[in-house]
């Protein structure tokens, strides 16, 4: 229980988000371009972080389908910034030893000769530590 609370506080601190501001309008989820690919949707991230249910989020593939396009951040009427929570949970995962989502050896398979460097750099920054 204590661990759960610590984890929640860590997520809130890293993200700088005040999840309590959420009024549950669901605009984040309405605007999310990755909705179909997500198990937990932006409004659920906010609600679950507020409740302290971080672990299911950490195990979810949703972390890697968020595009960080900031549409939810821009359009949230309450300045809650759901994308920052997704990012914080993702970081909490990849900062654990050996929990990198993307490993260099995976790359050749994903490679494509037109792919700009930017995509690889970004993916490494997003998916591994």
């Amino acid at each position: 229980m204590e661990n759960k609370q610590q984890l929640t506080e860590q997520i809130l601190r890293m993200s700088g988000v005040n999840a309590r501001k959420c009024m549950r309008c669901g605009k984040c989820t309405a605007t999310c371009p990755s909705f179909d690919e997500m198990e937990y949707h932006p409004h659920q991230f906010v609600y679950m972080v507020e409740k302290g249910d971080i672990e299911p989020l950490m195990k979810s593939e949703s972390l890697y389908t968020c595009l960080t396009c900031f549409a939810c951040v821009e359009r949230c009427p309450r300045n809650v910034e759901p994308a920052k929570l997704v990012e914080a949970v993702r970081l909490a995962v990849i900062r654990e030893q050996g929990a990198n989502h993307l490993k260099p050896q995976d790359l050749p398979e994903l490679w494509d000769e037109d792919l700009p460097q930017q995509a690889i750099v970004s993916a490494f920054r997003k998916y591994s530590k």
């Binding site: 501001k21 009024m23 549950r24 309008c25 669901g26 605009k27 984040c28 989820t29 309405a30 605007t31 999310c32 909705f35 179909d36 949707h41 409004h43 659920q44 549409a71 359009r75 949230c76 009427p77 309450r78 300045n79």
Partner: protein, 663 residues
């Protein structure tokens, strides 16, 4: 030396919970001049007041200090109690040990210590208090109502009904306000025009009411009972007294491309226009921004067709100066601009409309003559999406308004219901965060929309609207089923937040009436004085004070009228005796005080003074008109010789308080 009584109130546990009231009373007993000190549960109760009265009599008190709640709450109560047993009311001082002590501190020792110091300061001040007698000022028996919407009309009618003269100043060419643009009213669905226009006519015909339409308030001077107001009557280039409202000019005017504000720009009017058929006064107005004659001097068609010869291109703004005893603010509201919310594509598609625009699209006198057609191609929309809370309930600042606009849930239910009733083949979706329907028959109304009319209410929000191939692709969330919905809509209706009219802020400055951070007028007390502004003689009616629907607006309008009638029924008002006065012996006639006085209450007169050796010298000295002085004290600081002082807040009194606090 004064004989002072100290009364420490418990306010139940509000004060006694954090302040050791016994100890305060005991400690203050030892202060010089204090002959009696006690504590009691509720000083403001009748028993408490009797305790004060009895003690004044028994101990022959010449000064009273009450340690209790804020003086803004009960100072008058205690002053009246003292007066009833013959003590001058201005010999009573209140030490605020509730709002400024017990409620903000948790630790008993700290709070008690502070309460004692606040008590000491009040005792130090009372030592220097002097009995004051209030003067009187006459009341002008006429009221001014600013704004001619339903709020202003109702207030004016009620005041006139009671027999007082009342003027309405309305900035647009007709009275009626927003209600005139509304199609039907919730929850009864009666036609807004049918219930509003008789009231407009009644206002026009009521002998006691004078309507200044197309006019604005330019300047306000004076104070309660005697305001002096300068009204600008904007040039309408039509002689109001002669124009018969026949409307021929509005049909013949060649300038046809003027956005019609009554239909929110969805159709056009001419440069000379009568806003709508039932306008009051039914008089034409020339829009100087579009009139070719006024802009280039070439045209004059309206003048040629006017059989009454009412057109006057040379008309100038005119000014009326009038005196009023009371002023009612009824400046109303507007929907916010939706520029910042373009994820809903308001500026990208004509088929995305605000609720007020939808209201016009449903109205028989609207741009589509009451047939619901979507603006882009004038076809019947088959799927309509309503979005609630656009710009309401936001995080403030750039995001939008932090308040709930209150009326949107109900009018959206109304729109949805009416649409389904008239066009049963239409699919209607309402995206809501919460449905807020507290009001008589309100929830029943909303339930009818769902149960009887089959409106789809979806808990969630619209995230993006994409106009594409003649459709509006709506992407939204359904939170209860945890889905993202994609709806191809023909129209999207946005429930835009409401905000106070832009003219309210400068008006508040003119009236020195306070506003909150959202530009709504603040009331004197949020619960107990909801229709009065903290500025005496200024009253509030309708949306200018906060979001409200028509029945609430009308109740508030009548309540404001009742307050005005109560004021105008008096022949004289008791003035505030805490006014400035000048010590003629010290005054050197420098005029510093005269220059800073915002009320012109200070005049100079030549006065003879007896000098040594029986000589007489004539000196110029300041004198304050106590009926005009409002007691701000600006002059007391400007006075270089220390001649000017303020009753009730004298230099010595304030310094005694400073000393007591710093000791």
């Amino acid at each position: 030396m004064q004989k002072i009584g100290v009364f420490v109130c418990w306010c139940g546990s509000n004060i006694a919970g954090t302040v050791d009231v016994h100890a305060v009373a005991e400690t203050l007993k030892k202060e010089p001049g204090v002959v009696f000190s006690t504590d009691y549960q509720y000083m403001c109760s009748e028993a408490g007041q009797n305790l004060i009265k009895d003690s004044i009599k028994e101990y022959g008190l010449t000064g009273v200090v009450i340690c209790s709640c804020s003086p803004r709450m009960h100072e008058n109560t205690f002053r009246k109690a003292a007066q009833s047993v013959g003590l001058n009311p201005y010999m009573v001082e209140v030490a605020n040990i509730r709002e400024q002590c017990s409620w903000i501190h948790k630790d008993m020792a700290t709070a008690t210590e502070k309460a004692v110091i606040l008590g000491r300061a009040a005792i130090a001040k009372v030592h220097l208090n002097a009995p004051l007698t209030a003067g009187e000022s006459p009341v002008v028996k006429r009221a001014l109502v600013i704004g001619g919407g339903i709020a202003g009309i109702q207030t004016a009618l009620d005041i006139a009904e009671a027999g007082f003269e009342v003027d309405i100043v309305e900035k647009s060419p007709t009275i009626g306000g927003k209600m005139a643009q509304i199609d039907k009213t919730f929850p009864t669905l009666d036609c807004a025009a049918c219930i509003l226009t008789p009231k407009m006519v009644e206002a026009a015909q009521q002998e006691k009411i004078k309507i200044y339409s197309y006019s604005e308030v330019d300047e306000v001077k004076g104070f309660v009972g005697n305001f002096s107001v300068k009204i600008r009557r904007k040039a309408r280039y039509v002689n109001e007294d002669i124009c018969t409202g026949c409307g021929v000019c509005t049909e013949k005017c060649p300038q046809k491309k003027v956005p019609n504000e009554f239909n929110l720009g969805m159709d056009n009017r001419r440069a000379i226009y009568i806003p709508f058929a039932q306008a009051v006064p039914k008089v034409a107005t020339i829009d100087p921004n579009y009139c070719t004659m006024l802009k280039t001097g070439k045209c004059g068609v309206c003048s040629k067709v006017c059989t009454a010869k009412a057109i006057d291109y040379t008309q100038k703004d005119e000014f009326v100066e009038a005196q009023y005893g009371a002023i009612v603010v009824a400046t109303g509201f507007n929907p916010i601009s939706l520029e910042k919310y373009d994820e809903f594509a308001y500026s990208q598609s004509p088929d995305v409309v605000t609720s007020l625009e939808y209201e016009r699209l449903m109205n028989a006198a609207g741009p589509t003559s009451g047939t619901l057609l979507r603006p882009s191609d004038l076809t019947h929309p088959k799927t309509i999406v309503f979005v609630q809370c656009v710009g309401s309930r936001c995080d403030g600042g750039d995001k939008g308004k932090p308040y709930c606009s209150k009326v949107c849930c109900m009018y959206t239910a109304k729109h949805a219901m009416l649409t389904r009733e008239k066009y049963p083949d239409t699919d209607v979706y309402v995206f809501y965060i919460d449905v807020r329907t507290p009001g008589k028959n309100f929830d029943e109304f909303y339930r009818r929309a769902v149960e009887d009319y089959g409106v789809h209410y979806i808990k969630g929000m619209v995230g993006k609207v994409v106009p594409q191939d003649g459709k509006l692709k709506v992407q939204a969330s359904d939170l209860l089923s945890n889905e993202q919905l994609h709806i191809d809509a023909d129209m999207v209706v946005l429930a835009a937040a409401i905000e106070p009219d832009k003219t309210a802020r400068p008006l508040a400055t003119m009236l020195t009436a306070s506003m909150d951070t959202n530009d709504f007028f603040t009331e004197a007390h949020p619960k107990l004085r909801p229709v009065e502004s903290p500025t005496a003689g200024v009253f509030l009616s309708g949306m200018c004070q906060g979001p409200k629907d028509i029945p609430e607006t009308v109740s508030q309008a009548s309540a404001a009228a009742a307050k005005v009638i109560g004021l105008l029924a008096k022949d004289k008002l008791t003035c505030n005796p805490c006014v400035a006065h000048s010590d003629e012996q010290l005054c050197n006639g420098c005029s510093s005080c005269e220059k800073v006085c915002p009320y012109g209450a200070i005049t100079y007169q030549d006065k003879e003074f007896r000098m040594p050796n029986r000589t007489v010298a004539v000196r110029r000295v300041a004198s304050v008109n106590p009926a005009v002085c409002q007691g701000c004290g600006a002059c007391t600081v400007a006075c270089p010789s220390g001649a000017m002082d303020l009753n009730g807040f004298s230099n010595r009194q304030i310094m005694a308080e400073v000393d007591a606090i710093c000791k």
